[in-house]
């Protein structure tokens, strides 16, 4: 039995689909750089009706972040809270286990569900990152309407996604249900081909 156990390995959400290296246009620098965000801690937080103020206080104690308003994402380093619906947020931290105990910290104030294995996240950066995303979403990503600290729940090629902007490089991150990672990658690879796409190794 122990022999079989050694055959099981954790596998990154993008490993089967997105090969590291250059995709699409080969000439010149890559217009978009894609980094799989593996090993994140992700938790969905849904407030109990009427408990948002107390939840905000408990979250501030635990994560030192306020509950973001609709359409907003707040980060402190690599730890963040991202609005994802009325009374709903996605908590994100850089390493698996970083958010352990969050549910206990907000007992009776919110329902907390671990999404670390449920969502797959990519980071997109580079001069053409916005142009690539604009091919897929019907949300205005121009800096006059969207920027660092903004998020949108929407769809790309009929795939439900949540995206948020980290900085005005611009750097974006896009989260998708893990079972749709292959579908999203097949869209992204095509959409980014004209700009040249550098896929980094997971990290």
């Amino acid at each position: 039995m122990a022999e079989h156990a050694t055959l099981w390995r954790p596998r990154g959400a993008w490993d089967l689909y997105a090969q590291a290296g250059r995709h699409g246009r080969r000439e010149g620098p890559a217009g978009v750089t894609v980094t799989p965000r593996e090993g994140l801690a992700l938790m969905s937080v849904t407030a109990v009706d009427g408990a948002e103020d107390r939840l905000a206080a408990a979250i501030r104690d635990r994560l030192s972040l306020s509950l973001p308003e609709p359409g907003a994402a707040l980060f402190s380093g690599e730890t963040g809270l991202i609005w994802s619906g009325p009374g709903q947020w996605l908590a994100l931290a850089p390493a698996r286990g970083d958010l352990d105990g969050l549910g206990a910290a907000v007992t009776a104030l919110a329902a907390v569900a671990d999404q670390s294995d449920g969502r797959a996240v990519l980071r997109l950066s580079g001069p053409d990152a916005r142009r690539v995303l604009e091919k897929g979403v019907s949300v205005d990503l121009h800096p006059r309407r969207f920027g660092p600290g903004r998020t949108a729940v929407t769809s790309v090629a009929h795939i439900g996604v949540q995206l948020w902007q980290r900085d005005d490089g611009p750097t974006y991150e896009i989260a998708v249900a893990r079972s749709f990672a292959g579908s999203l990658w097949s869209w992204l690879e095509e959409a980014a081909a004209e700009f040249g796409c550098e896929m980094r190794a997971g990290g």
Binding site: G71, G85, P86, S138, A152
Partner: protein, 100 residues
């Protein structure tokens, strides 16, 4: 056609699903007459003009919305979260709950 979601901002109508007239309120099933239930389930006005109707932002924030739309022009007016309207309806002016 675009709908200005009160949570997400202006979005393509493809992100939404349509339910219909927001006015009918389900009668108390145990007390209501057959006529009242029939009216609630089947009978709808087909107005030319402004109508308040329920839309679901399924590809976005997953909130139910009450959208005011002009059926002649498809012009979208006020858009409000359905939960706010339901909560306001559940409380009578005297402040006591009238619906479970």
């Amino acid at each position: 056609m675009r709908i200005r979601c009160p949570y997400c901002g202006e979005r393509d109508n493809g992100e939404f699903s349509y339910l219909g007239d927001a006015a009918p309120v389900r009668p108390d099933g145990m007390e209501a007459s057959a006529e009242a239930m029939h009216d609630y389930v089947y009978l709808r006005d087909n107005r030319a003009g402004e109508i308040r109707e329920l839309w679901y932002h399924g590809a976005g924030c997953r909130a139910w919305l009450v959208v005011t739309r002009d059926t002649r022009t498809h012009a979208i007016g006020e858009v409000a979260p359905a939960r706010d309207i339901a909560k306001a309806r559940a409380v009578t002016p005297a402040g006591s709950a009238s619906h479970a």
